[in-house]
């Protein structure tokens, strides 16, 4: 590293720190970007990649540290300023105006940073068309709405390119692309790098990093871990650097050998929705907590929603305790005792402005009503108090709106809602997202108790330590298929990351 002369560096970051309240997102991070290189930034969710990039783009301000561009210290205060400095950022989420044309979308940013009083339409149009030609077959006059997601992604890249950027940040640009489109993108990246543009490439996918990047920097828990030349390292080394963390929170004890039963609660066979997953088969056994791992977009959530008939047109068999179910709507699934805890607690898990009691009873109001359908307030209150007590929910009274509770307690209300129907199988999608450490441990304990009580528990989590700590068995989903299963000693972050990104077990350690 020290060998790199300062002439060589376009962007240099030293000792950068950033906190959000008590959370230290970045701690003294350093990063060096050379002219014309493709530099991968790797790390788990929450490692600090986005925070770092948002600081470079001027969206966030660092608490301390230095950013040097061409050797000069700079303070970047806004994305517009980042643009004038030649930094282009292609976000993972597409932010285009769907009803105007591709060309106009591309001009939008360019116009904004241009100092000219009048727009040079002809020049911009010519350049836009030129760039679009390189990016594949996109009509500059077509409205963005008519494009596929991957084409829209390419328009985002084109937009960044029209800004004469010297540093281009690409945040997981291939997440929505097909293999061929991704290859085209990589070619473009190499061409740009050949022209002297430096690219920061954020990705989880090891193959992409190793096939296309020059160097890779790894962040973990907001700290700088290492920068390696791709040609001199291995996937194993990078993955280890990414996940090499000691599990520090306590997880409840797992199922002992003699507690394991062969009894199958849920049997899923050949579940297919033709778009996002195909031929998914797995079994859930009594007493175990089953994990579903995979990269974002691998199809975990979609598979589970398909089983519950929450979305998608699904074929394939789902049997509960040996009986094939005929489910047409999620209401049927609830009636059979199969429920889904949403990953988006605030968006679709809870009714935030309604009371705790009313939230808890939402899956089946009929349960707290007379046969004629008249709700018994006392029973509704009792139900919420009983389940709240069981989950150690902290609240004033059950008539309080859910919005008044903390994240962890809101999640407990969401779980109480699931338990209100005495479910046989619960799918929990990111059950501890946005929940503090204490409540997290409590939720894990609750899941274990439920599993011991014979309820089938399936947990989706993007947090590998959580899956490894809580689950007895983990299925790894990759590109809509189950790529593998890990149990016991095989359950390591390396193995799961390998399966999730490559679809194969890691080579035996040399």
């Amino acid at each position: 590293m020290t060998a790199a002369s300062h002439d060589d560096l376009i962007l240099e970051i030293a000792n950068l720190s950033k906190s959000f309240g008590p959370v230290r997102a970045l701690r003294g991070v350093g990063f060096q970007l050379r002219r014309g290189e493709i530099h991968a930034l790797a790390g788990e969710n929450g490692a600090g990649k986005s925070t770092l990039m948002n600081i470079i783009d001027g969206i966030l301000r660092p608490d301390s540290g230095e950013i040097r561009l061409d050797g000069q210290p700079v303070t970047i205060t806004s994305p517009a300023m980042a643009q004038t400095l030649g930094i282009g950022f292609v976000h993972q989420e597409i932010a285009l105006c769907p009803d105007i044309t591709v060309a106009e979308n591309i001009f939008m940013a360019a116009t904004n940073s241009s100092r000219a009083l009048l727009m040079d339409f002809r020049g911009l149009e010519r350049r836009a068309a030129e760039i679009l030609r390189r990016l594949g077959d996109i009509d500059p006059a077509a409205p963005v709405r008519s494009l596929s997601i991957s084409q829209q992604q390419l328009v985002e890249i084109a937009k960044a390119l029209t800004l004469d950027c010297r540093v281009l940040i690409l945040d997981e640009p291939t997440a929505a692309l097909t293999e061929r489109e991704a290859q085209i993108l990589f070619e473009i990246m190499r061409t740009l790098a050949g022209q002297g543009i430096s690219i920061i490439y954020i990705s989880h996918r090891m193959v992409e990093i190793f096939d296309n990047c020059d160097r890779v920097t790894v962040l973990r828990d907001g700290q700088y871990i290492a920068t390696m030349n791709v040609s001199e390292t291995t996937t194993g080394e990078v993955v280890s650097a990414m996940v090499g963390r000691v599990i520090d929170s306590l997880y409840p004890p797992k199922l002992a050998e003699d507690e394991r039963s062969g009894e199958i609660i849920l049997d899923v066979r050949g579940l297919t929705d033709r778009q996002r997953y195909r031929e998914v088969s797995f079994q859930l056994r009594k007493g175990e907590i089953l994990g579903l791992a995979g990269l974002i977009g691998a199809g975990r959530t979609e598979i589970v929603k398909g089983i519950c008939r929450l979305e998608g047109t699904v074929t394939g068999d789902v049997s509960l305790h040996g009986r094939v179910l005929h489910l047409a709507h999620y209401a049927d699934s609830i009636a059979e005792g199969i429920v889904y805890l949403s990953e988006d607690r605030k968006g679709d898990g809870l009714f935030l402005d309604m009371s705790i009691a009313v939230n808890v009873s939402a899956l089946s109001v009929e349960q707290v009503a007379t046969r004629a359908g008249i709700i018994d307030d006392r029973r509704e209150t009792e139900q919420a108090e009983r389940l709240g007590g069981r989950l150690n929910l902290r609240y004033g009274h059950v008539g309080q709106p859910v919005s008044a509770l903390s994240g962890g307690n809101q999640q407990k209300v969401a779980i109480a809602k699931m338990l209100s129907v005495s479910p046989k199988v619960i799918f929990l999608d990111e059950p501890t997202r946005g929940v503090d450490v204490g409540a997290k441990a409590e939720i894990h304990r609750i899941l274990r108790d439920l599993a011991r009580g014979g309820v089938g528990i399936v947990v989706i989590s993007s947090e590998l330590p959580e899956l490894i700590g809580v689950c007895d068995r983990v299925l790894v989903v990759r590109e809509g298929r189950i790529a593998g299963e890990v149990t016991d000693d095989e359950m390591t972050e390396d193995t799961i990351m390998y399966l999730a990104s490559l679809g194969e077990q890691p080579p035996v350690a040399s």
Binding site: Y330, I334, G347, F351, G396
Partner: protein, 334 residues
């Protein structure tokens, strides 16, 4: 806000009692409205000797009773997250259809049933466009508002139809009294009490609240939200049909231009009564108080010889004030 945090919250019932009930009552929207209406009554009793007379009370009640039936439908629809601009024209259409059928020799009761059925079908059609096609309530009902009005004018040539031969037992719904209480008011009270109970207490209508509060969360609770919205849309039009028939019996005629601007009054009443335009909250009782408030204000202004032009300005200001207060209360709570 400063409520005691207990794991079970059980000790609350024990220490609650009258004070607690009183506090909760004071926090309710309805209490505020009752107090405002009472204050208006007292002020008007001093301002105009005619105000507190039986005849004036009766006239005021008659004025808001029929519209109150429509307010019930609108409130339920608003709670489910929808809105209906067509209420005025659909009410008029019910009158016109029933009136025309009656003039063509059909029994008035049968004619009324058919008119209500047509209104229900109109509501179902709107529900279809909203839930199946995916259009917004506002646009769909705006179109229907214009279409239904057009049908009224087309059917009558734009002139009111006199229905002088309506049998007295039919006119009784609109003009008769049971003891000293007008039948119209009896019908109104029954509709309000029944729907208020249904909305507060039944599982069926609880789903309306869930759907309006967060449609996605409702779907993720296994509620068929499209069905709920379809039904609330339909119900609102059905109640418009019922209101139209009562008006016809009361006026003894069918008026194609009746109810222009009614939607604004009805939506204002529901919103003053606590219904939220974004769905998920509202009560029938509150909405009716909103209706009464607007009606008392109009009647008071008329008694005080205030120009009718001022009335609209004052009504609009009341609406704006109520919504502003509500907005701030909500923000503080959130």
């Amino acid at each position: 806000m400063s409520t005691v945090t207990t794991p079970s919250g059980k000790d609350r019932g024990a220490s609650g009692g009258i004070l607690d009930t009183l506090r909760r009552l004071l926090r309710m929207r309805e209490t505020g409205l009752v107090l405002i209406i009472l204050a208006l009554f007292i002020a008007m009793a001093f301002a105009s000797p005619y105000f507190l007379t039986w005849n004036n009370m009766r006239a005021m009640a008659m004025a808001f009773a029929v519209e109150g039936v429509v307010v019930v439908g609108m409130t339920i629809l608003l709670i489910s997250g929808g809105i209906d601009l067509s209420v005025g024209s659909v009410t008029a259409l019910a009158m016109v259809i029933a009136g025309l059928l009656f003039l063509n020799g059909i029994d008035p009761w049968v004619a009324s049933g058919m008119a209500i059925a047509v209104c229900t079908a109109i509501g179902a059609a709107m529900g279809f466009f909203v839930t199946r096609v995916g259009l917004h309530h506002f646009i769909v009902s705006l179109a229907v508002m214009v279409i239904a009005r057009g049908l009224c004018l087309l059917g009558t040539g734009g002139r009111p139809i006199g229905l002088y031969t309506l049998p007295p037992e039919f006119k009784f719904i609109g003009q008769g009294s049971i003891g000293v209480i007008p039948v119209v008011i009896v019908i109104f009270v029954v509709v309000v009490v029944v729907f208020d109970f249904l909305l507060r207490r039944t599982t069926m209508f609880r789903k309306v609240f869930y759907t309006g509060s967060n449609e996605k969360a409702a779907a993720y609770s296994g509620i068929r939200t499209k069905k709920v919205v379809f039904l609330t849309t339909t119900l609102c039009s059905t109640l418009c049909g019922v209101a139209g028939i009562i008006y016809m019996a009361r006026f003894g005629s069918a008026q194609p231009t009746f109810g222009i601007g009614m939607e604004l009054n009805v939506i204002a009443a529901a919103v003053i009564g606590g219904a939220s335009l974004s769905g998920g909250s509202g009560t029938i009782f509150g909405a009716i108080l909103g209706t009464i408030l607007l009606s008392v204000v109009s009647s008071s202004l008329a008694l005080l010889d205030v120009s009718v032009y001022w009335q609209d300005i004052i009504r609009g200001s009341i609406l704006l004030t109520a919504v502003t207060i509500d907005h701030y209360l909500n923000k503080r709570r959130g």
